[in-house]
């Protein structure tokens, strides 16, 4: 039933960059409420795929539908939240408070030629509370640790109450303990708030008990299925995607 109305539907997407295919014939459907983990080696096109979904790259060949609308005419970008791979390499000297950064997540929702209301400020406070960063709201963003900054960027993505959250390696530079907390938080968003998640990560092991679906990308889509099917994959199959010497450590609880 839920598959009849996927939030994201990608059909035969191929993307060339300077004479080389970066993505080749990708077809994938992401149902509402899914938590999809995308894995693949460096340069396999993961970020490129996500950029397509965010409208940052124009579709060259194939088709993408978001919420049932062709991406070329899609306008409701405030339904999608985004935490980028580069979030933790931003200009740390930027003079903005945590509050200001999170409020900027509402820019599109508030709309051009309009100003934020008291309602919007309340939303910022609530979302900062939910990621445990309320007490830092008046600090400059550059004064926080990498893990704290990442929470702020999550808050910025969540403040517009998106139905779909897209994350590109959000845990780079976050220490191990906080990484676990972070994935717990994502799982919560998915289970409690029913936000559909698309997560690019290299921590296959850590997420294999959190995500509902896995996609293995290396230019082509090598595998796409439920987490159970993924966990049943043999290690050889994975190393055929990743190259040699990949150790997949699955979490056992």
């Amino acid at each position: 039933m839920e598959n009849s109305n996927p939030i994201i539907k990608i059909d035969h997407l191929t993307y060339r960059y300077e004479k080389e295919n970066v993505l080749e014939d990708i077809s994938i459907e992401i149902p509402k409420g899914a938590f999809l983990g995308i894995v693949g080696p460096n340069g396999s096109g993961k970020s490129t795929l996500l950029k397509h979904l965010l409208g940052l790259i124009k579709v060259q060949q194939g088709e993408i539908r978001l919420f049932g609308t062709d991406i070329r005419s899609f306008k409701e970008w405030d339904r999608i939240g985004f935490v980028s791979q580069k979030a933790n390499s931003f200009n740390t000297g930027f003079p903005a408070t945590v509050f200001e950064v999170v409020l900027s997540g509402l820019t599109r929702k508030i709309g051009l030629f309009r100003f934020g209301s008291r309602e919007d400020r309340k939303k910022v406070h609530a979302v900062l509370e939910s990621v445990g960063m309320r007490e830092f709201e008046n600090r400059n963003i550059g004064e926080l640790s990498g893990g704290q900054q990442q929470r702020v960027f999550i808050a910025r993505a969540l403040v517009s109450e998106p139905e779909l959250l897209i994350l590109d390696e959000p845990t780079v530079g976050v220490d191990a303990q906080n990484v676990n907390q972070f994935y717990d938080m994502l799982e919560n968003l998915n289970k409690e708030l029913h936000i559909t998640l698309v997560l690019v990560t290299h921590d296959i092991g850590v997420i294999s008990d959190k995500v509902t679906h896995v996609a293995c990308l290396n230019k082509n889509l090598h595998f796409h299925g439920s987490t159970m099917e993924f966990n049943a994959l043999k290690e050889q199959d994975l190393s055929s995607i990743y190259g040699h010497g990949v150790q997949v450590i699955t979490h056992q609880h």
Partner: protein, 279 residues
Amino acid sequence: MISGLFQYEFLQNAFLTGIIIGVLAPLLGVFVVVRRLSLIADALSHVTLAGIAFSLLLEKKLGILAGLNPLYMGMTFSVIGALFIERLRNVYKHYQELAIPIILSGGIGLSAIFISIADGFNTDLFSYLFGSVSAVTRMDLWIIMGICILVIIAIIVLYKELFLLSFDEEHARASGVPAKLIHFIFILLVALVIAASMRIVGILLVSSLMTLPVAASIRIATGFKQTILYSVLFGEAAVVGGLFLSYYLDWAPGGTIVLLAILILIATILYKKIRLRMV
């Protein structure tokens, strides 16, 4: 000077212009600095100079445009220069800063040619280079007031978009903000403010009025709004103080203003150091 302010129109013009510029330059300067575009201000000011030289040349050789404010031609050149920078930034996607030396040297080259064709100008050009208290006309004042209103309205209306674009351009584009259009409007505003500021501080020092107060403010401010507030306060202090000093000491106002701005910058750096040591 206080009594002079009531007596002489040129002093009133200079002061009112200075007060407006003291707000505008640092206000836009905050966005210029955080977007790492400081050098664009320099490039555009040199293009403005070419425009002014061109206007003076036409006036001297052909007698046309006589009586037309050279500021108009300066503004036109500045805006065209801004358009060129944008084009070049798209051509050299991975070396965006290359656009700046290209436009800057183009501006100086053109200025030099215009000046040589004209066989030199009178002292007028000097006042455009380093600023002048006596050169500001009532008409200049009106033009600059118009620019001021335009810029302030644009900044207020586009504040949240400009903030997002400055902080995280990719995120701005991903959330559907018309990034290209807003960036374009922003560059046009910068071009206008540079042309407007040049009367008082001079072409060679315009960019410093956009960057020095911001550099000082960033040392001690918390948050973006406070950064803007302090930048404008510092800019205003430097301009008003600089104009007074330059009038009494008979120094070039541009130089005096910039030196004051540097003093303020040093003071904020020391202040920060001392405060850190006390904690």
